[in-house]
């Protein structure tokens, strides 16, 4: 897999966002804000040389593992995998349809390349910890386990059980990346059930913590490389992200957590029938940085 430059990564992430919106609109259901917010992180992991994998051999035993704990943002995982060559982009149109390998929430047994089945929140970090522990038992020094989690699922007790376990066992080959976008279904995390001070909480459980701008490729790759270098502890990367990133009317708006474009009118936003077109136009022109789509 060719490692992309940071400039190329920006364009790749933009293309991934467009595919996410197209597949969601086609499916007529699914989550928009989280996948758009995490597109830069997934792009960096899959195309920035941060993760070892082989789309032709999904079960390759030397691969790094990417465990998606918050399964509902799977559109960004599916699109990233399609761009990486696990399957064709054409298959993205089957999202959430009967008979699809791209289930509404990820099901490992249906799609080679998925490391776990997820959707119910709070269980991914434990599974990733088990993988990291098992790889350590076998002396596998070069394989890293990434667990992508949401901020909201830190309200689950299971998540903290995993944080305790990984800290106790000094799982240096484990990195949790938290999508700190501050929204959940019912509102803003700090209103629903506050998580702060999140970094201090992880530190007190014996984790190394790095806070980054989740849309800055220098910071993303720097943090992941630092996580791999930290020898004594698991690392938590708190990635501050903008939910709905790249689409003005979706950004920072928790109403876009669980719906696709084109499905419903929301006060203050474009009409449902125009949402996809406006969103794609914004992405294609990089929010007006490019004057027209054809320049």
């Amino acid at each position: 897999m060719k490692v992309l430059s940071h400039k190329e990564l920006e364009l790749k992430a933009d293309n991934i966002r467009q595919d996410i919106l197209r597949m969601l609109a086609h499916a007529g259901s699914g989550h928009s804000a989280g996948p758009l917010g995490m597109s830069d992180i997934f792009t960096a992991l899959y195309f920035g040389g941060l993760m070892n994998y082989d789309p032709k051999k999904p079960e390759w035993d030397q691969r790094d593992r990417l465990v998606l704990s918050n399964g509902h943002i799977n559109p960004v995982l599916y699109v990233s995998m399609a761009h990486a060559g696990y399957f064709t982009r054409e298959e993205l149109k089957t999202l959430r349809k009967f008979g699809t390998r791209l289930q509404g929430h990820p099901e490992r047994v249906r799609l080679p390349g998925l490391e776990s089945t997820s959707g119910p929140l709070g269980s991914g970090l434990s599974q990733a910890s088990g993988m990291a522990y098992g790889l350590n038992m076998d002396g596998q020094k070069n394989q890293h386990v990434f667990c992508l989690t949401s901020d909201g699922e830190h309200q689950e007790g299971n998540t903290w059980e995993a944080i305790m376990f990984a800290g106790k066992n000094r799982l240096r080959n484990l990195t949790a990346i938290i999508d700190r976008n501050n929204i959940q279904i019912d509102g803003y995390t700090e209103d629903i059930m506050p998580l702060e001070p999140l970094a201090m909480k992880y530190q007190s459980f014996n984790w190394h913590v790095i806070e980054i701008d989740g849309h800055n490729f220098d910071e993303i790759s720097g943090a992941v490389n630092q996580a791999k270098a930290i020898f004594e502890k698991p690392t938590c990367i708190i990635a501050h992200t903008v939910p709905g990133k790249g689409v003005d009317f979706m950004e920072f708006d928790y109403r876009w957590h669980g719906i696709p474009p084109g499905k419903q009118d929301l006060p203050g936003d474009p009409k449902a029938k125009d949402q996809l077109k406006i969103a794609l136009n914004e992405l294609r022109t990089l929010k007006g940085k490019i004057l027209s789509e054809h320049e």
């Binding site: 047994v109 269980s123 434990s126 088990g130 098992g134």
Partner: protein, 332 residues
């Protein structure tokens, strides 16, 4: 004259007071350690109950393959799922009330739906836990596990059988649940007794009534069969150690012969062995079924004898139920 199945090589002292007594869970501990010697991918996870769930022996023999999780049953099963993902064969233990009681959703999603080879061992199931009371007497675990796709459910009836069941389960690559009782139970099977997962054992042949039991109540059913035989009633006793997948052939054959069936278990009859047998017979061979077990109640503190009597699970209760069913069958 009662006909004990000689092919099963049951203990000669079966109906004497000399029969040895051991907790069923002890056989699990032995089986796990034996399996650990032959398969280095087996790992054991404990949630702060290492000794009472009988994992101590495995821990002593294979300290590097023993993982202490602490009091965190959701983490217990999900870490195990992750270990299975990298090729380990995890056995996880706790009391059944907590695992699979507390962590059912994690078992459903990360083990069954995710198809990971995790063996869930629920100790201290049934009212025979005794003085600890209702919170620790798990009665709903069979129903909880039996309803899950991809899950095998095994309820051994003595320690020797538990050892064999553990060794055989360790060789399978599918999720499974093993239910263990706390108190001592008569060891009525022997090393020579054949055991195969999914194949029920016809312990005593009879013609008047079928008694299908699991766990420590299998021996109570045999005691009841013996006392019934002295009153001229011929009871057939089946040890249904594997509740899922259930041995349809053995059950249907017996029900077809006797036309009246009692199920006997130390669990809620709803969804338990009683549920499983009723479902099978109502679809394939409508037969009168009476379910002995806990009837929509919780447990409580007491001795095993007191509790089995209170909930109608002891050999005398089984005897009386069987007798009245046979009489009503004859009068019908």
């Amino acid at each position: 004259m009662m006909e004990i199945n000689k092919a099963l090589h049951l203990d000669n002292k079966i109906f004497t007071s000399d029969i040895s007594q051991e907790p069923i869970r002890k056989g699990f501990g032995q089986g796990l350690t034996e399996s650990g010697h032959t398969d280095t991918s087996i790992v054991a996870l404990s949630a702060d109950l290492t000794e009472s769930t009988q994992m101590e022996q495995f821990k002593d023999n294979f300290p590097d393959r023993f993982i202490e999780i602490g009091v965190a049953e959701q983490n217990l099963v999900t870490v195990a799922s992750g270990l299975a993902a990298v090729g380990k064969k995890p056995f996880i233990t706790s009391y059944a009330g907590f695992s699979p009681g507390r962590n059912w959703e994690q078992i459903r999603t990360t083990v069954c739906l995710n198809d990971r080879n995790v063996k869930i061992v629920g100790a201290h199931a049934g009212v025979s836990v005794g003085p600890d009371g209702a919170t620790h007497q798990m009665l709903e675990d069979i129903a909880l596990m039996r309803v899950l796709p991809n899950m095998v459910v095994v309820v051994p009836s003595d320690s020797v059988e538990a050892r064999k069941a553990t060794i055989q389960l360790a060789k399978t690559n599918k999720p499974a649940y093993i239910r263990l009782a706390r108190d001592k139970t008569a060891v009525y099977t022997t090393e020579k007794t054949p055991f195969r997962l999914g194949i029920a054992q016809l312990l005593i042949e009879g013609s008047d009534i079928t008694m299908v039991a699991c766990g420590p109540l299998v021996y109570e059913a045999m005691l009841a069969a013996e006392s019934l035989s002295k009153q001229g009633i011929s009871a057939e006793v089946i040890n249904c150690h594997t509740i899922k997948p259930i041995d349809e052939t053995t059950i249907l054959k017996s029900a077809n012969k006797t036309r009246v069936v009692i199920t006997i278990e130390e669990a809620q009859v709803t969804g338990g062995l009683g549920g499983a047998i009723s479902e099978l017979l109502s679809e394939k061979l409508p037969t009168r079924v009476f379910r002995i077990g806990v009837q929509n109640r919780f447990g409580q503190s007491g001795t095993v004898a007191e509790l089995w009597k209170e909930y109608g699970l002891d050999s005398i209760s089984i005897h009386n139920t069987a007798k009245s069913l046979v009489e009503s069958k004859l009068n019908a």
